[in-house]
């Protein structure tokens, strides 16, 4: 064997832990994603990002804009996010979820801006070895996101507008 090859092997063996941890660090980056975007969400891309060869289940939640609220027609919704904090909060939610369920991959994409009825507002996808965990983890992530992520929506009706859940009297009607 040539001198150079020996050197490379020596380097690799001496730095095995370093190289291996680099690989571990790089590996999840294409499987995981948190995105806040003004562009329409590519649902398949979110699913692909969360998918894993070791998974027997990919569970995906797609949240869409409903055309009615409080018995009135919704013309459009205005979504707004405190983007840096929303990403940080969603990351915490994923961390919690990955301690509770064996997540092999995950991806969350939330849209902001003006959305009309039928459009996709949020997509959560997770993959796990078995299906039950994928249902539970996906539900936990979307439920907690709705409760904690600093994202807001305003419903615009034909005769007015209202920030969702902002005021007690309206929250009670939901």
């Amino acid at each position: 064997m040539e001198y150079r090859t020996w050197n490379l092997l020596l380097f690799a063996s001496e730095n095995f832990t370093f190289i291996y941890s680099l690989l571990l660090f790089v590996q999840p980056t294409y499987r995981n994603m948190i995105k806040i975007t003004e562009k329409p969400i590519d649902v398949q891309k979110v699913i692909d990002t969360a998918s894993s060869l070791g998974a027997g289940a990919v569970n995906v939640f797609v949240g869409t804009v409903r055309n009615n609220a409080h018995g009135k027609n919704v013309v459009w919704l205005e979504y707004e996010a405190y983007e840096t904090m929303a990403v940080a909060e969603i990351r915490k939610i994923i961390d919690d979820a990955s301690h509770r369920w064996p997540l092999l991959g995950w991806a969350v994409s939330h849209r902001i801006g003006t959305l009309r009825p039928g459009e996709v507002a949020v997509v959560v996808a997770v993959s796990t070895p078995h299906r039950r965990d994928s249902f539970d983890a996906c539900q936990y992530i979307i439920d907690t996101l709705k409760e904690k992520a600093p994202i807001w929506k305003k419903e615009v009706f034909e005769d007015g507008e209202e920030w969702v859940s902002a005021r007690p009297e309206l929250a009670a009607k939901v």
Partner: protein
């Protein structure tokens, strides 16, 4: 007297009339800031909740503020 920069979102942004406002006050905690804003903008008291985030993390009332902190008013969230 110190000057704090406060970001506002959603309904709080509309009540404050801007994405970011300056607040001058003697108090140095999250609770002081909230009270100061409730006095200046009474419409905020009509909200179901009004949390404060400091450097992208939800803050407790007793947390002390620094002028260099990134402070944000978080009205009831409704994402998803």
């Amino acid at each position: 007297m110190k000057r704090y920069s406060v970001k506002a979102f959603g309904v709080a942004r509309e009540i404050l009339g801007g994405k970011e406002i300056a607040v001058d006050m003697e108090g140095q905690t999250v609770a002081f800031l909230r009270n100061e804003l409730l006095v200046k903008y009474p419409a905020l008291s009509g909200l179901r909740s009004l949390l404060v985030a400091v450097n992208n993390v939800y803050a407790e009332d007793h947390q002390r503020l620094s002028e260099s902190d990134e402070i944000a008013l978080i009205p009831p969230v409704s994402g998803g």
